[in-house]
């Protein structure tokens, strides 16, 4: 009664007091023994628990993690690239290589071939049997196993089969837009085009996570990091229009084949903001098999290579002279057909057939592409003034296009330009200075956009599947001509298409401004090559609401009648026709749609 023991029935304790002393000693001993066993057990368990949890805890935890978990590199696809209309231009996919080790098979080869044949439709039964019988181990059955097929192979749970996963970037449009998209190498690094220049937007780090899988190969959510399920599905949208790109490529290919040209390029830019709707260079490559092509083809020469633009530069010079206020649109200049400057004789391209034309207006200078007329206009600006005006156009700077490898244009050094008259004279008709085709498009874009130099670009931004933008590139605009000047020059360019050398590009119902260009190519040793020329045609449409600039450049066309008007202008026409249909540009003539609504009158 007096001693109290834990876990002992008090009733018993009370009864115990009335019993004889003989019986009393046995239960106490027994009780003590039971108690001792229980308490020792509890202490021992507690000790063990302490050892497992506290002393060996971290060590055991590590061992457990090792057994349960494996570092899984989670598939995080590189962001897809889509065109302006949402067509996929580049996307990631998983491909598997299936290996077989017949030595480990638990079923015979015939049965195995039957099972695999059902899953892999690209292989016939006979092929599978032959492959499986060829070696004891390491038979490569196929390296083009799709994700769904790989899953089916896995679910067979057969011994002796091995699947190796790899990432593949596919370009469904093949060579149509390769010049812009570029390609990625075996290590998933962009090597050309947007894939290279926008690497930071496209690439996402592969997530290597310590994940636990159940016996059924299901992911256990216990240690899943945040964000695993919410990987964003943003896409990189380009300003490119795949349909227009395709049309431009077809037009360029056709004309290049006809004139057996060395290379060619077609560019279409929306001058409102500088977005490039098409950028085609020939010859090109298929980014799905980039390793089969030479390095030369993998660059975009419309951005990386300079050429002397020739007469397509004349409208720019006219705009510069008008901005400087040294010429007026209705003024006349004496075109003598040939002129001597610094002991060099410069003549018009048609001097031997047409001679001098006498006094002609500025639009006629453009229509006949008169070199002498242009020299006279440039002389009005003075060499220094002309050079400074050219510098304002940022010819020696990059356009900051979002494609890799851009080369800035080239002007003669200021001293040389001012010292000798021949430099300014040559520059007035687009020789002696070098630009990329892209720069020419940007300069004509200034005429089309009411005088603003826009940044040409191909990336519209990162867009989610619902079409909301999450990032857009910052764009720059700089005024170089007045709106009035650019419209006047554009109307002069329209006469080139209606009356002058650009007649080929006429499209009924549309007001189009254009300018041909046929330039001699500079040779590596100085001077110009005899038979090598570069022909081009630039067009701006529609003149009444200028917006699009189309340029075609063909390098070294072969044959007799090779001029900007014969070689390049038909391409531009074909591209413009496609552009009108795709962008739904209404005809210039005819009633323009009324945009202002009459005031609403409402019945009460």
């Amino acid at each position: 009664m007096k001693r109290l023991l834990w876990g002992i029935d008090p009733y018993r304790m009370m009864r115990k007091g009335r019993r004889s002393k003989k019986t009393e000693s046995i239960p106490v001993l027994r009780l003590f023994l039971v108690w001792a066993v229980l308490v020792t057990g509890a202490i021992a368990l507690g000790w063990k628990l302490y050892q497992l949890q506290i002393i060996q805890g971290s060590d055991l935890k590590r061992k457990a993690r090792q057994q349960q978990k494996s570092s899984v590199s989670l598939y995080v696809p590189r962001r897809p690239i889509i065109d302006g209309e949402g067509n996929f231009l580049a996307m990631d996919r998983l491909l598997f290589t299936l290996y077989a080790h017949p030595i480990m098979f638990k079923i015979d080869i015939e049965e195995m071939a039957g099972k695999l044949g059902k899953i892999l439709p690209s292989l016939t039964m006979a092929e599978l049997r032959d492959k499986l019988a060829s070696q004891k181990t390491g038979v490569r059955i196929s390296d083009q196993v799709m994700e769904s097929e790989a899953r089916q192979v896995k679910s067979l749970y057969l011994d002796g089969l091995e699947l190796e996963r790899r990432h593949a970037r596919i370009y469904p449009s093949e060579d149509v837009a390769a010049d812009i998209i570029g390609y990625v190498d075996g290590e998933r690094r962009g090597q050309a085009g947007v894939e290279y220049s926008q690497q930071t937007l496209l690439a996402r780090n592969e997530l290597i996570l310590p994940l636990s899988y159940t016996g059924m190969e299901r992911l256990m959510p216990t240690h899943v990091p945040e964000g695993l399920v919410n990987l964003d599905d943003l896409r990189l949208q380009l300003t490119l229009n795949l349909r227009l790109q395709r049309a431009a490529r077809a037009a360029l290919k056709g004309q290049m084949a006809e004139y057996k040209a060395k290379r060619g390029a077609v560019l279409v830019m929306d001058a409102l903001d500088g977005s490039l709707l098409a950028l085609v260079t020939e010859h090109t490559y298929n980014p799905n098999d980039y390793h089969e092509y030479g390095l030369k083809l993998l660059k975009n020469w419309a951005i990386t290579d300079l050429y002397e633009p020739g007469s397509t530069f004349k409208p720019i010079n006219v705009a510069l002279a008008m901005s400087a206020g040294v010429i007026k649109s209705h003024e006349r200049f004496n075109d003598t057909g040939r002129i001597t400057i610094d002991r060099s004789v410069i003549s018009n391209h048609d001097y031997y057939s047409k001679g001098g034309r006498g006094y002609i207006t500025v639009d006629q200078i453009l229509q006949y592409s008169s070199n002498v007329g242009m020299i006279r206009i440039a002389q009005r600006m003075g060499r220094k003034g002309y050079y400074e005006a050219l510098e304002q156009l940022e010819i020696q700077e990059k356009t900051e296009v979002d494609l890799p490898g851009e080369t800035p244009g080239y002007l003669k050094p200021k001293k040389v330009f001012i010292r000798s008259g021949i430099e300014a004279a040559a520059a007035s008709f687009g020789q002696g200075l070098s630009l990329t085709p892209l720069k020419i498009v940007q300069l004509h874009g200034a005429i089309a956009s009411g005088g603003k130099l826009v940044t040409p670009h191909v990336v519209r931004g990162l867009v989610d599947p619902d079409g909301n933008f999450h990032w857009q590139p910052p764009l720059r605009k700089k005024r170089v001509f007045s709106a009035q000047t650019s419209q006047t020059v554009l109307e002069m360019m329209e006469t080139v298409v209606t009356k002058g050398s650009g007649k080929v590009a006429k499209i009924p119902g549309y007001r189009i401004g254009g300018k041909t260009g046929t330039a001699q190519k500079a040779s590596a040793t100085g001077g110009y090559q005899e038979n090598a020329k570069i022909t081009s045609f630039v067009a701006i449409l529609p003149v009444d609401a200028p917006r699009y600039v189309v340029l075609a450049v063909i390098d070294e066309p072969k044959g007799e009648n090779t001029f900007g008007s014969t070689v390049a202008a038909p391409i531009v026409k074909e591209v413009m026709e496609a552009l009108i249909a795709i962008e739904q540009i209404p005809p210039s003539t005819g009633g323009s749609p009324r945009l202002t609504a009459p005031p609403l009158s409402r019945g009460d």
């Binding site: 469904p172 256990m220 496609a578 795709i582 739904q584 009324r594 009459p598």
Partner: protein, 143 residues
């Protein structure tokens, strides 16, 4: 045996004493401990029940999560394959369309019809008169 017989014959006529209620005699400390023991047992039982419920719930949710995640993975996989196949088909069709033997021609302004939008007509005065009077007190709104 004899003892037992004797005892049968002479049953003791002792009065059964009423035992005192043990509880009241227990010291307060012990009673408090007994109470504690009982409440701990109840608490323990409830805890075990709660643990079992929470654990089974967790296992169920984990299973469901894994299942849904598997479905998500499968859907993403299907989406990728569908897009790839769709784009490959589009490209194939576009390539085919460029060949003259298919008889397809590119769209040009000549083959396009541009319609001028119809002139906007002024909105007509509404014919129905809006009721503007006040409701008489006698007219019920409804029944």
């Amino acid at each position: 045996m004899s003892v037992s017989r004797h005892s049968l014959q002479k049953p003791k006529q002792e009065k059964v004493k009423k035992l005192p209620a043990w509880k009241s005699k227990l010291p307060t400390g012990l009673r408090a401990l007994l109470f504690l023991k009982r409440s701990v047992s109840v608490f323990l039982f409830l805890s075990i029940a709660a643990t079992v419920i929470v654990y089974s719930r967790k296992e169920y949710v984990e299973g469901e999560w894994s299942k849904s995640y598997g479905e998500l993975e499968a859907l993403l996989r299907d989406e990728r394959e569908l897009i790839a196949t769709n784009e490959a088909l589009k490209n194939q069709l576009a390539d085919l369309a460029e060949k003259p033997e298919t008889g397809l021609v590119p769209i040009t302004p000549k083959t396009t019809i541009f319609l001028d939008p119809a002139q906007e007509r002024p909105l007509k005065e509404s014919q129905t008169k809006t009721f503007r009077g006040t409701l008489g007190e006698k007219t019920p709104l409804g029944y």
